[in-house]
Every structure is written in structure tokens, then in C-alpha cells.
């Protein structure tokens, strides 16, 4: 059996070293859910002028439609995992990691600058748009999340027509 030449050994060493260089690389902004992702993805289109008092806009999902203040904070993902939407363009792609399951309401929440409490929720939070049932666009669309990402959860965020959470309570606020 021939002993590998010095050059061959050096080549193997260089190849082994290069194999280590598979770190992060530039990735174009996605237009569909990434692989191995569990959650929802889609495009949101912005309408109306962004208020100066805007703190952030988040997309969250509720397993059950929140009909009271107590259920207002039962959304997914957890508060620590919320990601603000970029607001510098007329439309943007988003992805929100969610546990698998059925969600009755996928909603964009506008948050005003200030510290949030349940008491201040009606003044600091606004529903700014939600995913609608394709068959009846007056109703929220139900979304099922499986182990792979659910695409095309597209909707409009309209800063000119935002509503306080209590609008959806039972009974709603005046």
C-alpha cells in the first residue's frame, strides 16, 4: 500500500479546514416560510399613515378569540419572543413562530409608546388588521399550524382604521 504523498496529505488538510468554513452566509429576505420552521408566514400590506406615537407593531395569534380582558394576554408566541414588524416599506414579509394547533385569530397589534398593563391595554393597544376568512372576509380566518410552516397568511394593516381590544369583548366597549 502506497503512503499518501506529502501533497495529498496537505490537500486533505486544507479540505478539512475549508470544511470548517460553513458558517453563516447572506440570506435574501425570505418570501416563504423557512425549512424546519413551525408557525405562520405571509405578507402584510400597510395602509394609512403610521402614527408618531407608534412603539411597535406585532403579529400574534389566539387559539381562542379573546372575549375579555383576562384572555387578552393568552396569545402566542410568548411576550419574550415577539418581533416588531419593519415599518419602512409599503409591504413586508413576516414569519411568526407558533406552537402547532388551531388559531382562531391572527391579528396585527399596534402598540403605543408607554408601559403596558391590563388597565392600560385599551389605550395602548390597537387591533390594526387581521387575517380574514377567504370565504367571508368580514370574519377572521382560522389558521392551522402543523410542524411545517403555514404560508400565505396575508392581510392588510390599516393604521387609519385601528380598534381598541375592548371592541371584541363580550360585551364590547361603547
Amino acid at each position: 500500500m502506497r503512503t499518501p504523498s506529502r501533497g495529498a496529505r496537505a490537500t486533505v488538510l486544507v479540505l478539512a479546514l475549508l470544511a470548517c468554513n460553513d458558517g453563516l452566509h447572506p440570506v435574501p429576505a425570505p418570501t416563504t416560510c423557512p425549512q424546519h420552521f413551525t408557525g405562520i408566514c405571509g405578507h402584510v400590506t400597510f395602509a394609512g399613515a403610521i402614527p408618531d406615537s407608534t412603539d411597535a407593531v406585532y403579529i400574534v395569534a389566539y387559539h381562542t378569540f379573546p372575549r375579555s380582558r383576562d384572555s387578552l394576554f393568552t396569545f402566542q408566541p410568548g411576550i419574550a419572543f415577539l418581533q416588531a414588524l419593519p415599518l419602512d416599506s409599503a409591504a413586508t414579509f413576516y414569519s411568526v413562530g407558533l406552537p402547532t394547533g388551531r388559531y382562531e385569530w391572527v391579528v396585527a397589534v399596534w402598540k403605543k409608546l408607554g408601559t403596558l398593563t391590563t388597565a392600560s391595554a385599551d389605550s395602548l393597544l390597537r387591533e390594526a388588521g387581521f387575517y380574514r376568512d377567504p370565504a367571508d372576509t368580514t370574519l377572521p380566518g382560522v389558521v392551522n399550524v402543523y410542524t411545517q410552516g403555514t404560508d400565505s397568511i396575508d392581510f392588510v394593516i390599516d393604521f387609519a382604521h385601528m380598534h381598541p381590544p375592548c371592541r371584541y369583548y363580550n360585551p364590547p366597549c361603547p
Partner: protein, 726 residues
């Protein structure tokens, strides 16, 4: 030049005996490979001196013929006859011919709070020497500790066998000591790695596993002891300067500035020692542009030490240091839409301009320590210590500034006694009082009062160690909590190796920050939890260390840590107000099982030294409340470090490789891409006489990666370090 220095020294040193003509003999002591040999004893007539760490010596002798001998443990004694010229100097270099240095067991002081040989410690101990630190040309001590077996630094937070994970700098499950004095922050409980200038660290001892039996709180996962340089006799000076640059992003799509970032620093140290008094002072400065946008910083530090050998067996030591840093805080990197993203999903070199633009931190910290050591007899000694640690930070953020000032005052009285030839015991009492004043922590105090004892008894060649510590913790002068931390260990020599077994309990008192933080995160109020209880863990270890022939030494340990009441930030609904809130709570139960293997070898030739270390970690968060069992976040399952160093005369070259597997789970941005860390460092060095040069190419392949999501780890950095020692 040498001759001139010798003549200068001759002018400064008082004559041996008035009226008697003298001369100076100076030179260097080296081994057969040409490596400088420090601490060699040079004897001529009735006088003797020792060589410094660069192998250099200088001895003043009566003029005339003299018989000089040079000796050091592990080498054959060398002799040489010479004639000392009156009023002049003579250079005599020594070389230990043909001898191979005997590998002496390192002496450690941390594992049992007393001196002992490394293979007599009942728990695993890793050592980072000043040679390791110098070869790696690092700027902060955490960069050197990161290479130790079983240790990983995650964005500045140390993990020993997966102890801490990543908890945003609040609370460390590892205790930092500086020359044996506890130095974890009084408010946040974390570690400031820049507290001690890296150039002043002579050795780092890392004790793995629960160490609360001797050290109390925070020693839940281990103890790191930074041992600063000893003060030698005579006048010595040292200048260390570094300069380097950071690689630009590997893709133009990630470019964030139109220049190449750099870093640089300068340290100057001087010491003077007589048999009675010794002192040293050093100061230094460092600047960095950072390798990411808004990643730069400035740092300066000073350190002083003094020793007074007040009597034959009494030593008084004083030490102090102060470090001040102003560094930019890049925060999490930019994702789509949160900066000029160039159409990319993420921009790892750019800052998220919606949250972090302009954020920076001013951080100052320092300590004063005073220690009295007295050896009463060969069978008894005691040490008394007082210390003061102060930290002061201000986070300047777009949303408002946060800051706090904290002090920790500590005292300790410790004794080491040998009641019988086959028994040795360490006993002591310790107290620490921490206070904090800040807009997010309020004004609070925390006291820790403890008594401890540990005894080692020999049965033939076997050694049995048993000890315990009782800690009383108080908050704001009330609410006493008692914690007992026992430990037992057994050492059993078998054949060429030694088996060790240990079981110990560790704990960590909640930091004042975890108890009392009041701030806002994600728009949600973070509320205090004064009722937090100490975290607890039991650590078990079975280890074996043995040589493999004359050229290799191995150490393997199986470990099991069972933790409970681990503190985590939790989002809850306030039961009274129904408001969402974030609060630190005792929640987690965890189990960490693993294997730690380290091998050192000098294969083929004495000039080549290699090390390999591998840690396997199976870390589980056990089911609690409604949370099912799952992986503990921020614990890689596999961690491998390899290194090789080849030395030929005055030059040397080395390579380090670090692999850390993809995290099974992270607690933030869980959907972000996660990859393994594979980092290759290349090193070269040249040393001749008082001058040494070290070239480091860290992350030579410019591997772009993260260990904490959205926080870019260092890119390729080329650093040249020059050291001049006198």
C-alpha cells in the same frame, strides 16, 4: 545594551561589603531546547539569586575567582568557574545540557483553600498558565479561560460543564476569585472579566463542580481563581503592547463601514522587591473599533500590589485594582427591516436601529484587599482577609438610562492545621455584606455569614475528605435563610493513576438584581420578587487521572449535577391586577450528565506539545408546572478543543481548534438559524532575551457564527503582541 544595563545595575546595587571590590555576573539560564528557565538558583560563594521568568539573573560577587552553580528541580546541576572583574561585569549564560525536565505535579490552592498537589484534589481542576495566556495573545482573561477543558464562555458568561447557560448577565453559577478573594458583582452577581489586567495573571485555576463547601454562594457550578503575578526580588519592568485588526465581513452584502477596524493596547508594569518589602504597579489602556457596527470601546486599568514580610513567618499583602470602560452596545443584530438591511433576512454586522442605536455602557469596577498570613508552626497557619469590591455601571439606552452602584465588603479568617501527620484540616469563618443603590434595583443590602471546615485524612495511600459549610443569608437585615453545603471525596491511587470520587452540594443566593429589579422589558413591567430562594444543586463525580508512558497524561471524569429551584425570568399574570409581568422565580429543576476527557501529550519530540479535551453534556430541564421535560437552553452537547505547539529554539508555532455542537435549544429567538461553532486559531511566537513577540490569527477561517442568537461571535482578528521584560 546588556552590558550597559549591567553597569547601571552595578551602580544602583549597594556593595556587598564596604571596602571590598565587587563585580556583577549576569546572564541567562536555558534548557537544552533553548527555552528560558525561570526560578533556577544561581549560587556563587555565600550569595544566591534566582532567575526570573525570562531565565535572566544578576548576582553581585566579590572580585576574583568564583565557583558558580546553577540548579533547578528537574535539571542536572551545572557548574562553571569564572573570575569576577573588580568594578565590572561578566556575562555567563548557562544551559542545562541533556537533561529532560521532570514533570512536577502542579501545586494548586483553590480546590481545598490550601496548597496541595493537583492529583490530590477530589474534584476536577483545570489550569491555565501564564505561558498559555502569553501564547494565545489574548486581551481579556475570559478569552484564555474559554480554551480550558470543559469550559465555555457564552457572550461573557462562563459555563463549567454547562452550569450557567446564558442568563443575560444576571447571576453567575460560577464564583470568581482574585488571589482567593470572591469578586462576583454585589448587585448582579455576575463576573467582570476585565477586573484584572490579563498581563498580570500568572495562573488560572478552574475547579469544576459544586464548591460551596468552602466558598458558599455562586460556587454552584465551579470556581475560577485568577492568581496574579508573584512579586520577585529586585527591580523588574514589563511593557506589553498589542495591535491588531478585524477582518471585514466576508460578503459585500454585509459591509457596514468603509474602513478596516482595529484594536490596540499598552500595558506598563514595574515592580521592586527586597527580602522585606515588595511592590508592583501597572497601568494600561485599550481601544477597539469593534468588529460589528457600534461594537467599539475604550478601557483603562490600574493595579497595585504590595507585600511586607513583617516577620520570619508573617506576611502582609495589600492589593487593589480599578478598571474603567466605556463601550458601545450593539445589542441584537439587525433583522429584516430594522436597519438598512439591503434586502437580507439578517445583517449580522449591523445594529438593530429601532432599539439599540446609540446604546453604550459606562462600567467602572475595582477592589481593595488586605491579607495577613501567619505560619505558627509546621502544623498550623492562619490567614485573615478583608476586601472591598465596588462596581458602578450606567447603561445609556434610547429608552432611558439604567444604572447602579454596588459595594461588597468581605472578611474571612481561615486556619489550616495538621492535628496528625496523616490529617490536615481547613477551617474558617467568612462574612460578606453587599449593598446596591440604583434606579432599577432600589436600595438594598444582602448579608452572607458562614462557618466552614473540611478535613482530609490519609488511610495508607488513600485520602478521604469530608467537609461542610453553613451559610446564613439575610436581606435588608432580616429574613434569615440557612443553607448547608456538605461535601465528601475519596482519592484512591491505583497502579499508575488515581481514582477520585466526590459528592457535594452547591448553592447560589439570588442576586439583589434578581430580587429587586424594577424596569420594563418588551413594554412589560419587570417586578421584584423578594421571596426568591437560593438555587441548589448536588454534584457527583467519578474521575481518573493517569500517565500514559512518559509522554502523555490523561484525565477523565463522569459527572452528574442535579439542580433545583433554579432561577429564571418568567412571564406571568399578576393575580391581583391581572396585568402581565416579568418576574424572576424559582422554577427550574435540571439534570446535567456528562463526560469530561482531557489528554496532554508530547508525541514524536519534546518540542511538540499537544492537548485534546472533549466534553459530552446531556442537559435536561426536568418537567415542572405545565412545562414538559426538555433540553436545557444554551448547552451544546459536544464541546471539543484541540491544540498543538511546536517550539524550536527561539521560535514557536501553534494551533488551536474549538468545536461546539449546535445548541439543541436556545431561550430567545428560537426560530433563528443555529449552527455549530468551529473556530481555528493560528499562533506564532518569537522570544529572545527580554523580548517576546506573539502573533495570533484568531478565527483564521473567518467563520461567521453565533452561540447566543443574534450576537455575532468574533470574526478573524490578527493581533501582534510585543512584550519587553526587564
Amino acid at each position: 545594551m546588556r552590558r550597559a544595563l549591567a553597569l547601571l545595575a552595578l551602580a544602583c546595587v549597594p556593595s556587598v561589603a564596604n571596602g571590598q571590590a565587587t563585580g556583577v555576573v549576569f546572564g541567562t539560564v536555558r534548557d537544552s531546547a533553548g527555552t528560558a528557565v525561570g526560578f533556577a538558583i544561581i549560587q556563587g560563594g555565600k550569595r544566591e539569586v534566582s532567575s526570573d521568568s525570562s531565565g535572566r539573573y544578576r548576582i553581585q560577587l566579590p572580585a576574583g575567582p568564583v565557583h558558580l552553580t546553577v540548579s533547578r528541580i528537574g535539571f542536572l546541576r551545572q557548574t562553571q568557574d569564572a573570575s569576577v572583574p573588580a568594578g565590572d561585569s561578566l556575562q555567563l549564560d548557562f544551559r542545562f545540557a541533556g537533561g529532560i525536565p521532570i514533570e512536577m505535579q502542579p501545586v494548586i490552592t483553590t480546590a481545598a483553600k490550601r496548597s496541595q498537589l493537583l492529583d490530590q484534589a477530589v474534584t476536577s481542576v483545570a489550569i491555565v498558565t501564564d505561558s498559555d495566556i502569553a501564547r494565545r495573545a489574548v486581551n481579556t482573561i475570559d478569552e484564555a479561560v474559554d480554551k480550558a477543558p470543559g469550559v465555555q464562555i457564552l457572550s461573557g458568561q462562563i459555563n463549567i460543564r454547562g452550569s450557567s447557560g446564558f442568563v443575560e448577565g444576571v447571576g453567575s453559577r460560577v464564583l470568581l476569585l482574585v488571589d482567593g478573594v470572591p469578586m462576583n458583582q454585589g448587585d448582579r452577581g455576575g463576573i467582570d472579566w476585565d477586573l484584572v489586567p490579563v498581563d498580570q495573571v500568572e495562573r488560572v485555576e478552574i475547579v469544576k463542580g459544586a464548591g460551596s463547601t468552602l466558598y458558599g454562594s455562586s460556587a454552584l457550578g465551579g470556581v475560577v481563581n485568577l492568581i496574579t503575578r508573584a512579586l520577585p526580588l529586585g527591580f523588574h519592568g514589563r511593557v506589553r503592547t498589542t495591535a491588531g485588526y478585524y477582518a471585514n465581513p466576508p460578503s459585500d452584502l454585509w459591509r457596514f463601514r468603509d474602513f478596516t477596524g482595529g484594536e490596540g493596547g499598552l500595558d506598563v508594569a514595574a515592580s521592586f522587591g527586597t527580602p522585606t518589602f515588595r511592590g508592583a504597579f501597572m497601568g494600561g489602556d485599550r481601544h477597539s473599533n469593534g468588529y460589528v457596527q457600534q461594537g467599539g470601546g475604550d478601557h483603562w486599568h490600574v493595579l497595585g500590589k504590595g507585600e511586607w514580610h513583617a516577620a520570619d513567618r508573617t506576611l502582609i499583602r495589600l492589593a487593589g485594582a480599578w478598571a474603567d470602560a466605556d463601550y458601545q452596545v450593539p445589542g441584537t443584530w439587525c433583522t429584516r427591516g430594522s436597519c438598512d438591511d439591503g434586502g437580507q433576512a439578517y445583517q449580522p454586522f449591523r445594529v438593530d436601529t429601532t432599539n439599540n442605536l446609540g446604546a453604550h455602557t459606562r462600567s467602572a469596577k475595582g477592589y481593595l484587599t488586605g491579607i495577613v498570613e501567619r505560619t505558627i508552626s509546621d502544623a498550623a497557619s492562619w490567614q485573615a482577609r478583608g476586601s472591598w469590591l465596588r462596581t458602578n455601571f450606567t447603561d445609556f439606552q434610547p429608552s432611558g438610562n439604567d444604572g447602579a452602584i454596588a459595594n461588597t465588603f468581605g472578611v474571612e479568617l481561615r486556619g489550616v492545621v495538621r492535628p496528625a501527620p496523616d490529617q490536615i484540616a481547613t477551617v474558617g469563618g467568612e462574612a460578606a455584606l453587599s449593598d446596591v443603590t440604583g434606579n432599577i434595583f432600589g436600595v438594598h443590602t444582602q448579608g452572607e455569614y458562614a462557618a466552614y471546615g473540611e478535613s482530609e485524612r490519609r488511610f495508607g495511600l488513600d485520602r478521604l475528605t469530608i467537609g461542610a459549610r453553613m451559610d446564613l443569608l439575610t436581606i435588608d437585615g432580616g429574613s434569615i435563610t440557612a443553607v448547608v453545603s456538605p461535601r465528601a471525596g475519596l482519592l484512591v491511587p491505583a497502579g499508575e493513576g488515581t481514582w477520585r470520587l466526590s459528592a457535594g452540594r452547591g448553592f447560589r443566593a439570588p442576586s439583589l438584581a434578581e430580587r429587586y429589579v424594577t424596569t420594563t422589558a418588551f413594554g412589560i413591567p419587570v417586578v421584584p420578587n423578594p421571596a426568591l430562594r437560593p438555587e441548589e444543586a448536588w454534584s457527583f463525580e467519578v474521575g481518573h487521572a493517569r500517565p500514559f508512558g512518559a509522554r502523555a497524561h490523561g484525565d477523565a471524569a463522569l459527572f452528574w449535577t442535579q439542580g433545583r429551584l433554579l432561577i429564571e425570568p418568567t412571564i406571568t399574570i399578576n393575580p391581583l391586577t391581572r396585568n402581565p409581568q416579568i418576574q424572576f422565580r424559582n422554577l427550574q429543576r435540571a439534570r446535567l450528565i456528562g463526560l469530561d476527557v482531557a489528554l496532554q501529550a508530547t508525541p514524536f519530540t519534546e518540542r511538540l506539545k499537544t492537548t485534546a479535551a472533549y466534553t459530552f453534556l446531556y442537559a435536561r430541564e426536568l418537567a415542572h408546572d405545565s412545562i414538559p421535560e426538555q433540553s436545557l437552553p444554551f448547552r451544546p452537547r459536544h464541546h471539543l478543543t484541540l491544540s498543538a505547539d511546536y517550539t524550536l529554539g527561539h521560535v514557536g508555532a501553534g494551533v488551536d481548534f474549538r468545536y461546539s455542537s449546535r445548541m439543541d435549544r436556545v431561550a430567545i429567538y428560537e426560530t433563528d438559524p443555529r449552527i455549530a461553532a468551529k473556530v481555528l486559531d493560528l499562533r506564532a511566537q518569537y522570544g529572545r532575551g527580554p523580548l517576546a513577540a506573539h502573533l495570533l490569527v484568531a478565527n483564521a477561517l473567518n467563520y461567521i457564527y453565533t452561540v447566543v442568537p443574534r450576537t455575532l461571535e468574533p470574526v478573524r482578528t490578527v493581533t501582534l503582541t510585543l512584550v519587553y521584560s526587564y
